[in-house]
């Protein structure tokens, strides 16, 4: 690719544009390349690995971030992690893994760093014009692609609640992504807000390093230890899916009885959703810290009052530091809202089968789901499907029609519910069902269509 003036739109022919060189983007590039596509991957930062790279200036990593899904459920299906790694690798290992994936498959040569996509738009029917804004300040460039895969993830824009009186609060208020190495918690009175994985992990960090740690969770969550019955919890539960349904229920209940009774003992609300609706919070250290008082459970914050935080149950505390582990909002700024099915009611995309634009055949989003298994294998199968789809729509109209039909029928099943109760929840899918749907989509693409 050469440099272009801002006026000339360079036509890249059948090439595909991938936006983002994090885990999802890298997997997309690899699968597109494997299917014979030219690929240009644009990364706004100067490094690959996305959220897993602490050098990324927007990195959301907090101290001691580890995977919450186990290795076998998290690794890319056709490029396993080294089997001497621990069950739950660290963020540093995750970055090493992605770097090794990139170099193993020669992906780096397709990545354009320091290149933010300011805008994409449909042109010539199914083609896209992409406006690239180089970080260096030189003029924007315009290129045309046969297809665009958005792989920017959804851990970039902090979801920041605001409470009455917060402006006048005298202590420090930070989002989890601003924590850095955790030294700001040491010896302090810390309040962690948010009952999800990051909130629980950070509360465990503060339980050890802060002088005091309170943890405010707005609602019931599913708390699971990282191991159940001596096996990684996600594996132990997924494994039961190979059993008959009645037995699975019995075995699942037996595995979860202990964690359930323990959460009840700790006075935690029953979660207001069934356990398959949302990823459980996976941290067995948390309930031990609650059980030894090093984490004090609190309900939602009612308001700030000077140096005090008042909770809805009337209790108060005077934290030095408030950490908002309240997650992120998905934001796909460069893509016109109507192409993502975003309407006025909700900022959340309504994608077909959680990946295809409802308006444009050659626009897809990879990795915009939260599921019980790691997102990497899901992105692998998503981009596997997308790559095959892009191949087939050119040469086999009949199979393409079958495929569209299958996608639409799978989409009905996974319509985004607007009753989602947290940003994360609104992206939630049941991994087993979603993967089964993906499997049917892929089968439609790969097998001869039934006449």
């Amino acid at each position: 690719m050469q440099e272009f003036s801002s006026q000339a739109a360079y036509d890249r022919g059948e090439a595909v544009c991938v936006i983002g060189a994090g885990a999802s983007g890298l997997i997309a590039v690899k699968n597109l390349r494997e299917n014979g596509f030219e690929v240009d991957c644009y990364e706004r930062d100067t490094v690959l690995g996305g959220l897993w790279n602490p050098s990324n200036q927007h990195s959301p990593l907090y101290p001691n971030t580890h995977l919450v899904t186990s290795r076998s459920q998290t690794e890319i299906p056709d490029f396993p992690m080294p089997d001497h790694w621990p069950d739950y690798p660290s963020s540093a290992q995750m970055l090493e893994y992605l770097q090794s994936y990139a170099s193993h498959f020669g992906l780096a040569e397709h990545i354009w760093y320091g290149s933010e996509i300011s805008h994409i738009e449909s042109v010539d029917g199914a083609r896209f014009e992409v406006v690239v804004k180089p970080a260096a300040g030189s003029a924007a460039r315009r290129l045309r692609y046969a297809a665009v895969i958005v792989a920017t993830g959804h851990h970039w824009v902090p979801n920041l609640p605001s409470y009455p009186g917060q402006d006048l609060f005298r202590g420090t208020v930070l989002h989890s992504s601003q924590l850095g190495d955790g030294s700001r918690l040491r010896g302090k009175s810390v309040l962690v807000v948010g009952g999800g994985n990051s909130g629980v992990d950070i509360a465990c960090e503060a339980a050890v390093s802060a002088s005091r740690c309170a943890h405010s969770a707005r609602r019931g969550y599913w708390y699971l230890p990282k191991y159940l019955g001596g096996e990684p919890s996600d594996y132990a539960l997924a494994r039961l899916h190979s059993r008959p349904k009645w037995m699975r229920r019995f075995l699942t209940d037996r595995l979860l009885k202990g964690p359930r009774r323990l959460a009840a003992r700790m006075g935690m609300d029953e979660p207001d959703h069934a356990h398959t609706d949302e990823e459980p919070v996976r941290n067995g250290r948390y309930l031990e810290h609650v059980g030894d008082g090093s984490i004090e459970r609190r309900p939602e914050i009612a308001r700030f009052e000077g140096g005090e935080v008042v909770f809805v149950d009337g209790t108060e505390m005077r934290p030095d530091v408030v950490v908002l582990a309240t997650g992120f909002r998905p934001k796909l700024a460069c893509v016109p809202a109507e192409l993502l099915g975003v309407d006025d009611d909700s900022p959340y995309p309504r994608l077909m089968a959680r990946m295809f634009s409802p308006k444009a055949e050659t626009l897809a989003v990879a990795g915009l789901v939260e599921s019980g298994v790691g997102v990497l294998p899901i992105v692998h199968w998503q981009t596997h499907a997308i790559s095959h789809w892009l191949t087939i729509r050119k040469g086999d109209p009949e199979r393409a029609a079958n495929f569209r039909q299958q996608v639409i029928s799978e989409s009905d099943q996974y319509a985004v519910s607007s009753s989602g109760i947290s940003p994360r929840h609104r992206l939630a899918v049941d991994a087993q069902e979603y993967l089964a749907g993906l499997g049917r989509i892929i089968d439609t693409l790969e097998q001869e269509p039934v006449k």
Binding site: P77, D78, P80, F105, G439
Partner: protein
């Protein structure tokens, strides 16, 4: 690998991890040969069914592959050579091959010999090999799975075995005919026949990568 096959695998226990013996020879390691290191050429990972594992490829194979400009490696699966034994069977051997493959600097060519040919065929269904080469395959799995990433496949048998059941199975599975080489199946590691066979494989690889 289909999604369904992968899902099944994520619900089965992973074979026990072992510290695997992998012998590696880089073109740059060769002092006596003037090897042209070709960074675009895929590295090669060899696996044999012989109990000695990596050592079976002797002084000939790794050196000749490295001399052709490719990074050359051979792995001993569990129980072979310097790799400790551990339970598992063919699935676990394939796991060992895949684990060795991900440790290669680039997408690797898998060359399997004897029983190792079957393990490499299984491994190529999990890992997108740059190419798959089956040499004198023995005891192949009943159903040869479709390799991922559609790598070119080559297979070589002795002239005597050109019509064997194994050869027919490979032909049926991959739609390719065998390259035959003279001599016995146990003559692939040294001697003139071995050199000829290896050169045929390397030139096929070069053709495929052009």
């Amino acid at each position: 690998m289909s999604l369904q096959v992968w899902v099944r695998r994520t619900r089965s226990p992973e074979p026990a991890a072992v510290k695997r013996e992998v012998n590696v020879l880089e073109p740059a390691d060769l002092l006596d040969v003037d090897a042209k290191d070709d960074p675009d050429a895929s590295p090669v990972l060899c696996c044999s069914g012989e109990p000695t594992g990596a050592a079976a490829f002797g002084p000939l194979w790794l050196k000749r592959i490295a001399a052709s400009g490719r990074c050359a490696a051979a792995v001993s699966v569990r129980g072979q050579g310097g790799t400790p034994a551990a339970p598992g069977g063919a699935e676990a051997y394939a796991h060992d091959v895949v684990q060795a493959a991900i440790g290669m600097p680039r997408q690797a060519v898998l060359i399997g010999h004897g029983t190792g040919a079957g393990w490499c065929a299984l491994a190529a269904a999990r890992y997108p090999a740059a190419a798959l080469v089956l040499v004198a395959p023995r005891k192949l799995p009943k159903r040869l799975p479709r390799p991922v990433g559609e790598p070119p496949v080559m297979f070589a048998v002795t002239e005597a075995e050109a019509q064997s059941k194994e050869a027919q199975a490979v032909t049926a599975a991959y739609g390719i005919s065998p390259l035959t080489f003279p001599g016995g199946a146990d003559e692939v590691f040294k001697g003139q026949n071995a050199e000829g066979l290896l050169d045929a494989i390397l030139s096929w690889l070069n053709r495929k990568e052009d």
